[in-house]
């Protein structure tokens, strides 16, 4: 099945990339944009049909590698739809 992991910086960890994007968007004429944060999205193919089990395994992957829990938090989305 397909899974998506979203890795974002914890609140309170400053995000120079997000700030720069927000700044650039303002300069490009998008004043309505407020706070901007940039994170990662990791899409995985998992050879495993048991959703609960897959979630545990992916959680393990996140803690072991995909996220640096000192500064990052993560979210797991299972059976994600195909990107357009």
């Amino acid at each position: 099945m397909k899974a998506r992991v979203f890795v974002t910086l914890k609140n309170g960890v400053l995000d120079p990339q997000g700030k720069a994007i927000g700044h650039a968007l303002h300069n490009l004429g998008f004043p309505e944009v407020g706070d901007v944060r940039q994170g990662k999205m990791i899409e995985l193919e998992i050879a495993d049909s048991d959703v609960a089990k897959a979630r545990d395994r992916i959680k393990e992957m996140c803690d072991k590698l995909l996220a640096n829990t000192v500064i990052e938090k993560y979210e797991i989305e299972l059976g994600a739809k195909e990107a357009p």
């Binding site: 400053l14 120079p16 990339q17 590698l65 500064i71």
Partner: protein
């Protein structure tokens, strides 16, 4: 003094570190492949600069999980001196051997230039041949050297005198917290720093400010 340099896939300052070590210690370090599980019997382990695993996902993330790192951790816990330079510092932070994290430079650009540093700590095996407050110039060459840790951790680092190098006021190339350029672990046997001491050990290359670090190690470890 016997030393080893770990070679990760796409380390690229491994030779530079080896050359500096040999020039100053007189003995050629052992080059250890990241896939090995055991370190040879040495007094010092250097994690060199570079782009281990392409810096993909996060700098040092994959290298920190290399087989060899288990033994590096274990031996460090029992007192082995470990020096992480640039990418090596990132690996040590990712491996949890040093607190905090190294984030993208504040201006989002890779930067390579000589920077002025202040030596803050001169008791450790790495810096005893420097004077407290001494100004030295090392080059930096990184895109993610922006040291981050929560305030409690930063206070603790400062309180325990573990901030070994600071960027001189106004010469912080990456926006790191409290101008931190290099820190020690609690046991004071593991040092990670972003600037490159091994690139300033030869007068022809614009300075010799890095020599004292290796001379300190010789004095402390042999």
């Amino acid at each position: 003094m016997k030393s080893a340099v770990i070679v990760f896939p796409a380390s690229n300052c491994d030779r530079d570190a080896a050359v500096a070590l040999e020039r100053i210690t007189g003995t050629r370090p052992v080059m250890v492949w990241h896939g090995d599980d055991a370190l040879p019997d040495v007094d010092l382990v250097v994690l060199p600069g570079g782009f281990a695993h392409g810096d993909y996902l996060r700098c040092g993330a994959m290298a920190a999980r290399s087989p060899i790192m288990r033994d590096v951790k274990a031996k460090a816990d029992s007192g082995l001196a470990v020096l992480g330079i640039c990418n090596g510092f990132q690996v040590l932070a990712e491996a949890g051997m040093l607190p905090g994290a190294l984030m993208r430079n504040a201006d989002l650009k890779y930067v390579c230039r000589p920077v002025a540093l202040e030596v803050n700590e001169t008791q450790s095996a790495f810096t005893r041949k420097y004077d407290k407050g001494q100004r030295v110039t090392f080059p930096v060459a990184h895109g993610e050297g922006n040291y981050f840790a929560d305030d409690a951790t930063l206070d603790r680092l400062e309180g325990e005198d573990r901030v070994v190098f600071r960027y001189a006021q106004g010469d912080n190339p990456n926006g790191s917290a409290r101008n931190i350029a290099g820190i020690l672990n609690q046991k004071r046997n593991v040092l990670g720093l972003m600037p490159h001491p091994e690139r300033v050990c030869d007068p022809l290359l614009g300075g010799t400010d890095g020599r004292a670090m290796f001379e300190s190690l010789i004095e402390a470890l042999s």
